[in-house]
């Protein structure tokens, strides 16, 4: 087994084990911090797939932005002392049956489908290509994305501010 295969197994294990912690942990702080492991593992998988820019974006936005936001929300909505009982779960066994059946079906589908593969798989720097695509082919969605982000930001501020009654 070569070094890269071993690293791949390690990254895949990190992703799945910490995602399992998110799903099964009884403490919401543990759930939030194991989300960090999942995001890092997914960024590692992107690097294995030759997507360097997407991996950097994943680290910046998910780990630097969304995870901090989630931690802030956890801290703001719980008293730290009763943190052990705040991550209640219900209906675990039916959910386990449904998702277990689903994952079995998905894995069987993945294994039996003859996927079309490219003739050669290239590993090249992608940042310049993605920048070009954003400013030519995907210019309208790119501008719409900035509008959506602005609207989401204003909406979040309006939703979470304190109302001042005259």
């Amino acid at each position: 087994m070569s070094v890269s295969t071993a690293v791949f197994y390690l990254v895949a294990l990190l992703t799945i084990v910490s995602a399992g912690m998110v799903a099964f942990s009884r403490n919401i702080i543990y759930s939030a911090f194991s989300l960090l492991g999942t995001f890092m593992g997914v960024a590692g998988l992107y690097i294995f797939l030759g997507a360097d820019f997407v991996a950097a974006v994943q680290l910046l936005i998910y780990v630097g932005g969304i995870l901090v936001l989630i931690l802030f929300a956890v801290m703001l909505t719980h008293r730290i002392t009763d943190v052990a009982i705040t991550n209640r779960a219900a209906g675990r066994i039916p959910a386990l049956i449904v998702t277990g059946g689903l994952v079995y079906m998905l894995i069987q589908t993945v294994k039996t489908t003859p996927w079309i593969k490219a003739k050669e798989v290239v590993f090249a720097a992608t940042t310049a290509k993605i920048g070009d695509a954003f400013l030519y082919e995907y210019l309208l969605p790119f501008e719409l994305a900035s509008l959506v982000l602005l609207a989401a930001m204003i909406g979040a501020v309006v939703l979470s501010r304190k109302e001042i009654k005259e």
Binding site: T5, I16, A23, Y46, V110, S160
Partner: protein
Amino acid sequence: MQPSELSSYLIIGAILFALGLFTVLTRRNAISVLMGVELILNSANINYVAFSHFGSGNSAGQIYAIFVIMLAAAEAAVGLAIVLAIFKLFHTIDVEAAETMKD
């Protein structure tokens, strides 16, 4: 399971999707439900980037993945603001407690 095979990435994506769905189905805490949604979005992103790398060879899948990450950021901001508003109103973020539209 090899790093040079498409199916290993798709299997990881499927497991991640199932764990995210399990989180969304079972949790009664609104923030945990949002965490499950993030797991599901990440699994979809893995599939996008894997198909882009092994299938077409162009970067369209990576661009879609970046758009998904962008929408996930917007979703997290608005979702957590709604969670904070619910907490102010009901003093709990149990999704079953918040079942009325007005107070």
